[in-house]
Amino acid sequence: MAYRDLREFLNKLEDERELVRVKQEVDWNLEAGAVIRRASETESPAPLFEKIKGYPKGFRLAGAIVATHRRLAISLGLPSNASFPDMMDAFDRGITHPIKPRIVGTGPCKENIIKGDDVNLYIFPAPMLHDGDGGRYISTWHFVATKDPDTGWQNCGMYRQMVHNRNHLGGLTMPSQHMGAVLRKNEQRGKPTEFVTAIGTEPVTACVAASAVPYGVDELDVAGGIRGEPLEVVKCETVDLLVPATTEIVIEGYVVPHMRVDEGPFGEFTGYRASPRAPRWVYRVTCITYRNDPILTSSCMGVPPSETSSISALCKSWAVRNTLRAEGLPITDVYVCGEAACLLCIVSTKTPYPGIAHRIASVVWATQGGSVSPKVMVVNDDIDIHNMNEVIHAFATKCHPVRGTHIVEHAAGFQLCPYQNLEERTWGKGSNALYDCTWPIDWPPEIAVPPKASFKDIYPEDIQQRVLSNWTNYGFRNK
């Protein structure tokens, strides 16, 4: 089932007991952020703040709306208990069967229109999410769209935006990201880049914007494919871009070439504030449109769980899985590990020949989704890679500290990686590590590979069946 808008999705979350309407007045200055953060860390329902200090009735703030696997599954129109591979399959459908959006004349996002000197970003309750953040982050669960000046391709990505003042935003965009490439192209030509920020879309669009869709692929088409029906979109007022017609808040303008203003720091997806306040891109706002009683959506990033361990983990796993499959590698599952803030990619595989873990790791690091997973762990296909007990056990018992650990120096890094030194973070220098947790295939199985002492491995089939069928008779509850 495709949701018409954010509100329909929030109602569904409420029906599933995955949303709490917060009636009590809450301060946008740290209090709302602290509530969202704690709700994420305790996997509590998503908060919808209905009364924000200093803001008119009706101006609302929703946090952590897909910060758990259950809510992510619901957002994709799947049952709340859908498995991780089921959700990856939903993304596959979007890529393999994209549906172009349908342009309509107008929509709810045009209920209020503010242009020119009347533009004022402070009319929205943009939260100060973490103590010490560089500013109020209005865009943390949203998409920013720009167009490639050569091809006309509209890219939608999730790039954070901080309020500088009434009509300027600042943001971090890394060179390896799609919008970073577009901004640089225009800047080299001395031209501004038109942008639109859509906050509070129906849920699939934001999820796709947070994913690693290949360069040149329109995220709105992919969102249509996942939804199984086209998105209805409208033209912007002052820029040549499209947004979903039911978007809660739309911010239009242009990125100013050759202008940088200090932005950040920000509590990031890694669970730290690793990148400093630094000069970054500036967005000049020309128009704001919004629905009556708008809902601003927000993600309060930090240690997992968060949207990183749900949607980012899903999208990156999906992208890496597809590439590994396309390379013909005999993998059985991929998990870009949400518990590890996506800095670790776990792959289970058959091992038909020596060195397959190296091939797998090389492919992972070459993908957009896997390039920010500097650690790759390869395990045999008997490991459930979504079960951290099994993964840690495999790592500790099967990865030889010398022969199983393979270091790659001088790799591409990224600025937000907490363990890198300041020089590495500044220049995006990195290094990678492969942890090969597979049994060497040149070990004679009967002599060198130790039998595994688990219920499913060390007991005869008939004993296992007898135990399972008598489990409740022994006095245990069914499990």
Binding site: Y122, M128, H130, D131, G132, D133, G134, G135, R136, V163, H164, N165, H168, M259, V261, D262, P265, R273, A274, S275, P276, R277, A278, V282, R284
Partner: protein, 80 residues
């Protein structure tokens, strides 16, 4: 009532006390940043009429347990 501002610096020693200096500060009521000329001091007796100024590192953590003091002497405009 004293207003509350904050500023980001690489090191605390970057702030020169009791000397007019250019700074980017944020008004902690709105978090809008602006450029000012100001005199800052680390203790109340040096700038008894001053407003509060929290000094933060570039990664956001407060560098002092107590706020510094600030007196703005000139507005230099917004940061954009």
């Amino acid at each position: 009532m004293a207003k509350v501002y904050d500023t980001f610096v690489e090191r605390l020693s970057d702030l020169k006390e009791n000397k007019e200096t250019e700074l980017v500060i944020r008004d902690c009521e709105t978090y809008e940043a602006r450029r000012v000329k100001a005199v800052v001091a680390s203790s109340k007796h040096q700038l008894p009429e001053g407003d509060m100024l929290w000094v933060r590192a570039l990664r956001g953590q407060k560098l002092t347990k107590e706020p510094w003091l600030i007196t703005i002497t000139a507005e230099l405009g917004g940061i954009t």
